[in-house]
């Protein structure tokens, strides 16, 4: 290996000093610092959104109105959705990207470190704007996280401007993050690391970043239209002026469907890294995984109207979107098959990252199956806007995306902190989460099939028993996440010293550097064969 490096005089990141105190975090351009910021921010948002969800579940604990007014209930569901999607899941993945991508491809840092700092530091402002609307006279957005027109335009409670500007800032942040990811992966790979030698983790983030660049601007466009419709007298979605409210749904879901893959493709990448490590086998079907990820991303652009089967589409449209949606089950099935095949006859051990990954495979598949049921146009007419939909997307987002984030966090915590986490406490976190999350979301399937609509503060008596159990599951799941906080704090403060490679089956360049990872890694690119 030659010791020749990139022109160091141009790159002040190579100075080894870091600033003290708050300035270190405000001015940092170090990918590890920014990754840490993203991860902490997303965890704080998870607890915030979770607190809102607990109020929702408290209200739904029994029929009737006990705790909150219906309008405030709508504000809770709206802000819960926005925070979990844009504040918890997406920043957590950007945090993983920042921490792990440069180390996995043997780069010294992200390609655009200053932009990286910006893309994080505008996020707290976005959520401050959004959350501040709770304390205003008009209240927070109450039109659902999907902000359908005319609920968000004609019938808005006055919070639309706060909502729109918050989403604009979140969008700018995500786009900057995505550009950074793409440029880093294209230009900063270590010598010898060809595209097909990249870890699957890197591939999934690469594809996710392209999806973000393609659809976040469409979201920015549609919120802009909502803004001008509400305050400047345009009529994009107003039939009186020649617009069409159904068009809102088309544009929104053109963004919205790729968005759900933005939140699950990185999860695939994390799980595909962890399962081979603890099965002690190579990932089964690496190239088929890459192509499956790519095809899911491409298909995601032509399935949006499956969210709108009941808007009165012609039969041809419903069939087209139904078949395209079901087609997505094929590459997704390839992935599930590959994960199972990787575990098949492997020397498996069940450390906490692996437990979360296995739970991911099983529970995400349940979410996938309920998705297939929803894809069937005729039955969707029954399930549309019921708790069945709520059960479906919480299975893919909580036991899917969130579980993969936990799996990844436990997998790389030793690398991040230099200490092993407490084994018993983390197992408590896993088992409490696993049991409570199923108590929370599984009965929602039955509630939905029985006809309980989503987004209501009160419900008919026959739904009372299931709702009681769901709420108990909800409180238990919410409190279980505090165990994770305890694990992380304990792990940062101390614990058994972690070796450079704590998992004997793990592969990848990140395990060739010391634990904790030094502030600067791969100033000299490694050689990949």
């Amino acid at each position: 290996m030659t010791t020749h490096t990139i022109d160091e005089s141009l790159d002040d990141a190579h100075h080894d000093h870091k600033m003290k105190g708050i300035k270190r975090w405000l001015y940092t351009t170090n990918h590890k610092d920014i990754g840490t910021l993203y991860l902490w921010f997303s965890f704080i948002m998870l607890l915030t959104g979770g607190a809102l969800a607990m109020v929702i579940r408290a209200e739904l604990f029994q029929p009737g109105l006990q705790i909150v007014e219906p309008d405030f209930f709508n504000q809770l569901t709206t802000v819960h959705g926005l925070i979990m999607v844009f504040g918890a899941i997406m920043p957590a993945f950007t945090g993983f990207a920042n921490w792990m991508l440069p180390m996995m491809i043997g780069a010294p840092d992200m390609a655009l470190p200053r932009m990286n700092n910006w893309s994080f530091w505008i996020l707290p402002f976005a959520f401050a704007i959004l959350l501040s609307s709770f304390f205003m006279e008009s209240g927070a957005p109450n039109f659902g996280w999907t902000f359908y027109a005319p609920l968000s335009t004609t019938y808005s409670n006055g919070s639309t401007a706060f909502f729109v500007f918050a989403v604009h800032i979140m969008g700018v942040s995500s786009i900057m993050g995505a550009i950074n990811i793409v440029v880093t992966i294209m230009n900063m790979r270590a010598p010898g690391m060809t595209y097909m030698k990249m870890p699957l983790f890197v591939w999934t983030f690469f594809i996710m970043a392209y999806l973000l660049i393609a659809v976040m601007p469409v979201l920015a466009g549609v919120v802009t239209m909502v803004l001008t419709d509400t305050y400047f007298g345009t009529s994009f979605f107003n039939a009186a002026g020649g617009g069409d409210p159904v068009m809102f749904q088309h544009i929104f879901w053109f963004f919205g469907h790729p968005e759900v893959y933005i939140m699950i493709l990185p999860a695939f990448g994390i799980v595909s890294t962890i399962i081979p490590a603890f099965a002690r086998k190579k990932l089964f079907g690496y190239s088929s995984m890459v192509y499956a990820t790519g095809s899911i991303a491409l298909l995601s652009f032509i399935v949006w109207a499956h969210h709108m089967f009941t808007t009165g589409m012609p039969l041809f449209g419903e069939l087209f979107f139904m078949y395209c949606t079901m087609l997505i089950a094929v590459p997704t099935g390839v992935k599930v098959f590959n994960w199972v095949a990787t575990m098949w006859r492997g020397s498996m051990t069940f450390e906490v990252p692996m437990l979360f990954s296995i739970a991911f495979v099983i529970l995400f598949t349940i979410g996938g199956f309920s998705g297939l049921m929803l894809a069937l146009t005729p039955v969707d007419f029954q399930y549309h806007d019921t708790y069945f939909v709520v059960a479906h997307f919480h299975y893919v987002l909580v036991t899917g995306s969130l579980f993969s984030i936990y799996a990844g966090a436990y997998f790389w915590l030793p690398k991040w902190t230099g200490h092993m986490y407490s084994d018993s406490l983390s197992k408590w976190h896993f088992w409490c989460s696993l049991i409570s999350v199923n108590l929370l979301f599984f009965p929602m399937h039955f509630l939905g099939l029985a006809g309980m609509p989503r987004r209501i503060p009160d419900y008919a008596l026959q739904f009372a028993d299931f709702n009681k159990w769901v709420s108990i599951g909800g409180f238990a799941f919410g409190l279980s996440q505090l165990i994770f906080l305890a694990v992380v704090i304990k792990c940062i403060r101390g614990g058994n010293k972690a070796p450079a490679k704590p998992w004997d089956g793990a592969e990848g360049l990140e395990w060739t550097v010391a634990s904790p990872a030094p502030y600067h890694t791969f100033s000299t690119p490694p050689k990949v064969d």
Partner: protein
Amino acid sequence: MSDNTEQKLVKPNNSKVIKKLVFMVFAMFGFGFALVPLYDVFCDITGLNGKTNDVAVVYSDNGIDTSRTIKVQFITRMAKGIPWQFEPIINEISVHPGEMKFVNFFAKNEANHDITGQAVPSVSPGLAAGYFQKIECFCFERQPLRSGEEVEMGLQFYVDIDLPVDIHTLTLSYTLYDITEKKDS
């Protein structure tokens, strides 16, 4: 790819990639807005969404198909906050495809101030919208009514002879909007 150490000595050209990506961002932002006219064109061509013609058509005499009788129903609804009475004089008529019909709608401004109304039509089932041809319609124009004024407004239409055979009933729905402010500005 044939990356080797020597090639990596040069700092890769980030700005080229960044330019392309930023261009993609702006292109997709524009695409979001381009979807608006595209949607209208698409609905216009396919007749989806129940949108009917918004300018008068000329009656084309392709004969009358007396073997089929189509029920045409009329419904009206008021958008939020327009204090008008607005309803069809007759709720339903039967027509043969190709046959011209004339019906009246009644409107009265019950507010104590002048209001300009605009009725927006929509046909259900949506696929039939392209076959519902309006020769004359009050919905082509704005309806300014003084306080307390009432008016009968006419609609002349025919159902195209090519209407698919499995459609037996058409529902024409008018939604009335208050557009007073917009007219003033």
